[in-house]
Subunit: 410 residues, 2 copies
């Protein structure tokens, strides 16, 4: 008598591949929990949802089908990149529909993150941000801002919305001429240069991406701002000196929660004890959750999108500051990503020439899945304003934030 197979597929495949495909297909369809998505196999077998489908996923071979059952998020992403799986219809709507159907369900988290060392942090950053300034220039706005924009109206252009974001952050920070600002993680330098130009402050901006630093320094020199804006090659742990204002846009996601108290300690150490104030802008969540395994492996190694409940005690209690204002700009990030994805698609050809087909598919899926995650509420975008409790210059209401149009958006 043959021993009973632990895993029915392997033995069953040998004598009845058709039955196994059917079993996998129905299992996969159940995993989707009613999401309006049609599944189709290489042999034209298909599973159609109860609701009219928003898109069809074509699985091109049996190995992919089986992997989708075992590690859905990782297998979907890798098969999409490799072309072993094709989406017919709107990719973003498909991903949104799946997010909504799976909301709050057990999912497939990435491997547990190890706290980043300065070296591993640099490696993680290198993978993503050092892909080449020419690549990012093709689909970001003209100021190269790679974080959530602020759309005063949904019809604003991406350029307007990114300028408004920079200015909105400056208003929340209540910059006044002569303020000393420290920026932790400065991308290609857009905010640092905007603050110096428009608000007459001096900025020391820290970054560990070589390509971004090179670009930012060149731009500062070209605009004659090198004396007022210093771009420092250094991890947030190396931040020193003293500042009136501390700002960090889209960097906290690369600080592991295990290091939040260290980050908060840095803020406490450098921020003026009496009138110091600041802002953190980061991708977050409603409840603690890791990025899925595909994002964790292929897009943002080591990254984590925290809840406010993790950031406030972890970072801001350690920094000895009061939370003054929190704003959730989630819909703005969904729209920002729509702009990025559209521009990315418009420049597929040069991007394919720089990299290859698989890269184009990988990045399309990343941008589309991020857009879907913000649209469905799996991800949030928080701006947290804070200040020393001794700061009495805080305005009486938030009305002034909205009193005037934003620089550059007229």
């Amino acid at each position: 008598m043959r021993p009973r197979a632990h895993f029915p597929i392997s033995s069953a495949v040998a004598f009845a591949p058709g039955l196994v495909d059917e079993w996998c297909l129905s299992k996969l369809s159940r995993l989707l929990n009613g999401a309006p998505v049609r599944l189709q196999l290489w042999n034209d077998e298909s599973a159609t949802p109860a609701m009219p489908p928003v898109a069809t996923v074509l699985v091109k071979d049996r190995a992919t089908l089986v992997r989708l059952l075992l590690r859905p998020a990782l297998a979907f992403g890798e098969a999409y990149s490799a072309g072993r799986l094709v989406v017919k219809g709107d990719l973003v709507r498909l991903l949104e529909a799946v997010n909504r159907a799976l909301a709050g369900r057990p999912y497939e988290p990435g491997a547990r993150r190890v706290p980043a060392t300065p070296t591993s942090a640099k490696d993680n950053v290198h993978v993503h941000y050092d892909l080449g300034n020419d690549f990012y220039r093709l689909w970001l706005d003209e100021a190269m801002v790679y974080t959530c924009a602020y759309f005063e109206h949904p019809t604003a252009t991406l350029e307007e919305a990114q300028r408004a974001k920079l200015d909105y952050v400056c208003r929340k920070l209540r910059l006044t001429p002569g303020d000393r600002v420290i920026e932790a993680g400065c991308g290609w330098g857009a905010l640092a240069l905007h603050m110096a130009t428009r608000y007459g402050v001096t900025v020391r901006a820290f970054n560990i991406s070589d390509a971004q630093l090179r670009y930012a320094r060149e731009r500062a020199a070209r605009e004659g701002l090198s004396d007022r804006v210093t771009f420092v090659d250094g991890d947030y742990r190396t931040i020193d000196g003293r500042c009136d204002v501390f700002v960090s846009i889209g960097m906290l996601e690369h600080v592991g929660p295990a290091d939040y108290a260290i980050f908060g300690g840095v803020i406490d150490r450098v921020l003026e004890p009496r009138h110091g104030r600041g802002l953190l802008h980061f991708i977050g969540r409603d409840a603690p959750m890791e990025f899925n395994s595909w994002i964790a492996r292929h897009i943002f190694p080591g990254a984590y999108a925290p809840t406010l409940g993790e950031v406030l005690p972890g970072v801001l209690e350690s920094a000895h500051v009061s939370v003054v204002d929190v704003e959730n700009l989630r819909p703005h990030y969904a729209l920002t990503l729509r702009h990025w994805l559209n521009r990315f698609e418009d420049h597929q050809e040069p991007i394919r020439a720089m990299f290859d087909d698989a890269f184009v598919r990988t990045w399309r899926l990343y941008l589309a899945s991020a857009q879907a995650s913000f649209a469905s509420g799996d991800l949030q975008l928080f701006q947290v304003s804070f200040g020393r409790r001794a700061d009495t210059a805080q305005p009486w209401t938030r009305r002034d934030l909205y009193a005037a149009p934003f620089h550059g958006t007229m």
Copy 2:
């Protein structure tokens, strides 16, 4: 040979009272950590701070002096109430100066709170809120709002600022006619009635203070709103039904952190899963800390002012909602309390006639210490707006919150 006394004072008092008084005075002075406060004893001995003093504390007997060293907060409050200690100069400035000097230092917390049962919650509430509507009417605004007001300008009257607060909360809640609102802890009913009158919603408002419920129901009947506003005698745990909007102003402080998940579960159970939204307004802190032992024993038994880092995971993650907006209105509460304290002082005579001298001093100290705590940043006032992630009606920016003047403030 006599055994060495464990506590030097008791034996020393017997032979050299003068030396002991001096020792206690200098010890007490050191406890103040440089606060600009002059200490004076019954025998005219005194300790004068380095900085010009904002006020003098006159300690009228040795027992009080010793108690001040052992349990400073409790002894100060009890001796002030009993008249065994007198403050010469500005009480609020004195308390503010002490708060500032002691910020972040070990302090004297109240006894550990036991999680409130429905019965103990009712007892705790009775002690404070059932002192008589006539008493509160003497020093609250005309609408009887006993929570932080919203001053569009610091020169607004308390009446204007309380009306503006009610309206500001309604705007943050995006009330539309026909909405079903649940209010947890409704005081004398001002918000519930404002929402029904100005926004055409129906309200079920829960409370466990008999005196407040009686007042609120009478007012609803008088204003012909009994069909649209129901005041329910019930603890938050008893809230049932279904609502579009959930609001709670100044009630969370009476829910112990151990019960936050229960409170969040109540919100989750009653709030519409698609478009539901809400707001929590509560006294909070930058870092976890109990109320001091005098407040805990004599003013707010069982109460706790939480950090955002306690409320967001505890209540709102359990409620399955996204944080949309957090605003810290700390300066507004300091100003609200200044108005209350001024009115309270203006009505000392009738209040003394209702109660007694000790009551007047107790409440003066409570209002003054609360004002000082908000002014110095020991206490914060948070308004947290939240919503279901499926709610897509959220406005694009916060600009509309500030677009029009508030009802009733013109």
